[in-house]
Amino acid sequence: MTTRGIDFKALSLKDALDLAVLVEEEAKERYEDFAAQMDQHRTPDAARFFRYMALNEAKHGEALAARRAELFGSAPSAVTRAMIFDIEAPDFDAARAFMSPRQAMKAALASEVKAHAFFVEALPALKDAAVKALFEELRDEEVQHQDLVQAELAKLPPDSGLSDEDFVDEPTAQ
């Protein structure tokens, strides 16, 4: 979770909305990427869940983009993807071969926790009241997203407690 070249003190509402859209876009792309990885490795349940998450991120991104368009029209954006990394997107190595739905959901939950932490950390630096209100709203939404994933987790049958790692052979001489 890193940012580059963002001056939170001087962040305007337009830039904050653009930033939030980029955060959702990055997460959506990562989940789509994870879903494709699961497809390639014949793990359809995890792929389905990652697609569901990608869809949710896309919806949030579209809602934020609509707000931005309503308030600022097509005014040029001053923030780019190069300024953010892994804010709400799960870490690149959070995917694993043959992930169970539980593992997939836990990876998503970790990224929602990470996104919440980002907004909590950024809030004290913000000066603009409207930006502050937006970040508080986004922070609270991340809690709702965590609840959503927790609810999905609760629907799963109990975990067997076994891991793929339990079946890995130790290296042998060749």
Binding site: Q40, A82, F85, D86, F92, D93, A94, A173
Partner: protein, 293 residues
């Protein structure tokens, strides 16, 4: 906050229709994203880019990139990339491979590309293991590492890729990792823009055969940004000093950028061709050169 200049090309323009078949969570997924972003920032159209690789997991990367691509033979990405660059100097030529491909099987080629200073960007995805062939000891595996070919622990010291290329006089040497995708893209872009041989060592974790400390969390724990350390990338000796910490610390950024880049071999060849062609006989009389007068 300043906006980056808008590019004619987007990162997605360099993404091919082939779906990567790397293990889920592989660091190379991040590297290929970094390459797409860097190519978009440079703005050369895909038909002006040639991407050459050797053999290994990471060497699949040209297939996942929309550009001319050649997945060559083990360790031979660099000589083939060199031939392509000399045959068509206007192409932007990238070469890629893993640590085994680059520093073991193809280790002998690097020195020659560096001394010739051919304008190629060489990206090594260093995961300290032969992942494609199921986890054998590689030239950058740390001493003591237990693998299927070193069941009692490796007795060998690893190759230090950064010191290796710095010692041979590479004009641009940098290190990146998936712990910072935006930083990686910026470094690859800078390497591409450097006029001469540019080397980027990318610590790309192997999720299947790599050790826990080599995964993203482990890498984050030992990473330090060279710019924040106040490192001057024009100082080659300081770069060599920092490069000695390879394996203990993960220094991210540009170790060395020659402030006065030497002419590239491809440019010198063009000059030589132009000079010789002044008094050269017409093509149809070229065989006369071999006839004793």
């Amino acid at each position: 906050m300043s906006a980056n200049a808008t590019c004619e090309f987007q990162a997605k323009d360099y993404k091919s229709d082939l779906k990567p078949i790397w293990c889920p969570g592989c660091g190379d997924y991040s590297v290929v994203q970094g390459i797409y972003r860097a190519l978009a920032a440079v703005g050369r159209p895909p038909h002006e880019v040639a991407f050459i690789s050797g053999i290994g997991c990471s060497s699949r990367i040209p297939g996942y990139t929309t550009a001319y691509g050649f997945n060559t033979v083990h360790g031979r990405a660099l000589p083939i990339a060199q031939g392509i660059k000399l045959a068509n100097p206007d192409l932007l030529v990238l070469a890629a491979g893993g640590d085994g491909d680059g520093f073991s099987i193809g280790g002998g080629h690097i020195a020659h590309l560096i001394r010739r200073n051919i304008d190629i960007t060489y990206l090594v995805m260093d995961n300290q293991i032969y992942g494609l062939t199921k986890g054998q000891l590689s030239p950058t595996s740390q001493k003591g590492r237990t693998t299927c070919t070193s069941p009692y622990g490796s007795l060998e010291n690893p190759v230090n890729p950064l010191l290796y290329v710095l010692a041979y006089g590479a004009g641009f040497v940098a290190q990146a990792s998936p712990t910072d995708l935006a930083g990686m893209a910026a470094i690859i872009e800078e390497a591409i823009r450097f006029p001469g041989f540019a080397f980027v060592n990318i610590q790309s974790p192997c999720v299947t055969y790599g050790e826990e400390v080599q995964q993203i969390k482990g890498l984050k724990a030992i990473s330090e940004n060279l710019a924040s350390l106040g490192h001057n990338p024009a100082d080659r000796l300081a770069a060599m000093d920092l490069a000695q910490h390879y394996g203990e610390k993960l220094h991210l950024g540009v170790f060395y950028r020659n402030p006065e880049p030497a002419p590239t071999y491809d440019a010198l060849i063009r000059e030589r061709q132009a000079a010789l062609s002044k008094d050269a006989p017409p093509k149809e009389r070229i065989l006369d050169l071999f006839i004793k007068k």
